[in-house]
Symmetry: C2
Subunit: 286 residues, 2 copies
């Protein structure tokens, strides 16, 4: 999915958030924002939004020297989500269809994307849980995904934000198997999960855990490692969490199920689902 | 009021809106946005937000050749507001305090700021009218303003958006006098009223009408004509409508009553009133 002009205000907002969390020095924040604006004035606007965001992230990192600005925030989000683990396990156990309940919880994790917000209240999480369990799920039939997972030799799960991976873990427990691999970002990218974050969430206990070798807040295949690309090509089913993965992989020819909440107008238009929808979308060419 | 980094996403959003309404040519829109981003990467960020917005407006105008991109939209807004004139006159006539009712209607006009939205439904206007009549008014006492107007030799009223001037007209009718001058922008600036727009709203029937000689979407004194600055300095009371005028004049030493709805976090922080408040604020040094 190519970026549109309407992505620019959002990318500037994101650049400012990353700059502010990377340094307290207001002059350095200003200088960093100037560099980000200049980069945006020159970059190829036909890239996907996460590719432009990756460029912004590189600038902020090189100017502020902060390697993983969201490290602490990510830990707080993961810890808050882990506190809810028993509650989530109860939801799945008591459900008449644990696979669908787990899938809905994985979407709940995507709803909860907290950005740089440090405090996560139990109420925040509880309201998101009940929203994810009650709101209609648009797109593909979850049972079709389940059947594809059952018959697949290899399943690749592309994670998204750090706190979200705790929710993914509950879903992954519904089809725990040696054939399942979970991939996280290869370097810090906004609040997306890296290997450390995914281990904090306990993902390594329910699946093989790898990183994709890239620091984009998405899955930009050309920026990923050869090893990741090999696993990606070999996977019979890919589950891609979050808008970033949709934006970067929507034109891929792999057998991908995108699982995300629609959070912006451009993705709403591109996917055909209205803002706020909870979506399980099978890639066109999958 | 100086711009802050949080203004940048908003200024980019505004730049895109102006670029899109100025030309249908997507390539030219992209080129224009690149120039705006480059300008923002280089401009003095200690200016007020409307000063930066003026620079953006100049770039869009020079690149697209469109002199007054909001001309048609402004006419539609003015026509929609004029249709409500009898209703507004009824509200004032039936009120136990026509001055306060008129002042509240003037704020209603500021609430209704429609940007590039072309269609204005009667429902839009009705809901805004009832909101403005019912919501508490923060800040100064309207009767203090009334008393200052009564004893002043000259009153200067700084208008804001085009459709809003119809609402201003109802307020101005409550203190109709030869001593009242209404100033609009000296050149097109977003959807702000120029002389043509103010005449469409009938402002010339209730007050002396002038322009400030500037194309900023605010009152940037250094950019205004000498004639306007003379009237500004001589005025005993100035009523300044909208956030733009507040952003550009909040550090002025003139006797200004700002009349606006708080529409962004920075103005909320700077003015001390929460988002969405209806505010009549007397300048600190007034």
């Amino acid at each position: 999915m190519k970026a549109e002009l309407q992505c620019l205000p959002c990318l500037v907002r994101q650049a400012r958030e990353v700059a502010m969390i990377s340094t307290d020095d207001l002059q350095l924040q200003k200088k960093t924002m100037r560099s980000c604006l200049k980069y945006m004035s020159e970059t190829d606007l036909d890239q996907s939004p996460p590719e432009i965001a990756q460029g912004i992230g590189r600038i902020v990192k090189s100017m502020t020297g902060t390697e993983d600005p969201y490290r602490e925030v990510k830990s707080l989000h993961t810890a808050a989500a882990l506190k809810m683990l028993p509650e989530m396990e109860k939801i799945v156990t008591e459900s008449h269809d644990p696979f669908v309940a787990g899938l809905r919880l994985a979407i709940a994790g995507n709803i909860i994307d907290l950005g740089a917000k440090e405090k996560v209240s139990d109420e925040d999480i509880c309201s998101v849980l009940s929203e994810a369990m009650e709101q209609p799920l648009c797109g593909a039939d979850p049972l079709q995904l389940k059947s594809e997972i059952d018959s697949a030799k290899s399943v690749l799960y592309l994670a998204d934000n750090a706190g979200e991976t705790v929710f993914d873990r509950i879903f992954l427990e519904q089809f725990i198997s040696e054939k399942v691999t979970v991939a996280v970002r290869g370097a810090p990218a906004i609040n997306d999960a890296t290997l450390d974050d995914a281990r904090d969430a306990g993902i390594h206990r329910v699946a093989r855990l790898i990183d994709n070798g890239s620091g984009a807040p998405a899955t930009v295949l050309s920026d990923c490692s050869g090893e990741f690309r090999r696993i990606f090509r070999k996977a019979d089913v890919i589950i891609a969490k979050g808008q970033g993965n949709y934006e970067s992989l929507s034109s891929s020819h792999a057998n991908i199920y995108f699982l995300f909440r629609v959070k912006c107008n451009l993705v709403a238009e591109h996917s055909g689902f209205p803002m706020g929808s909870l979506v399980l979308l099978k890639a066109m060419d999958g």
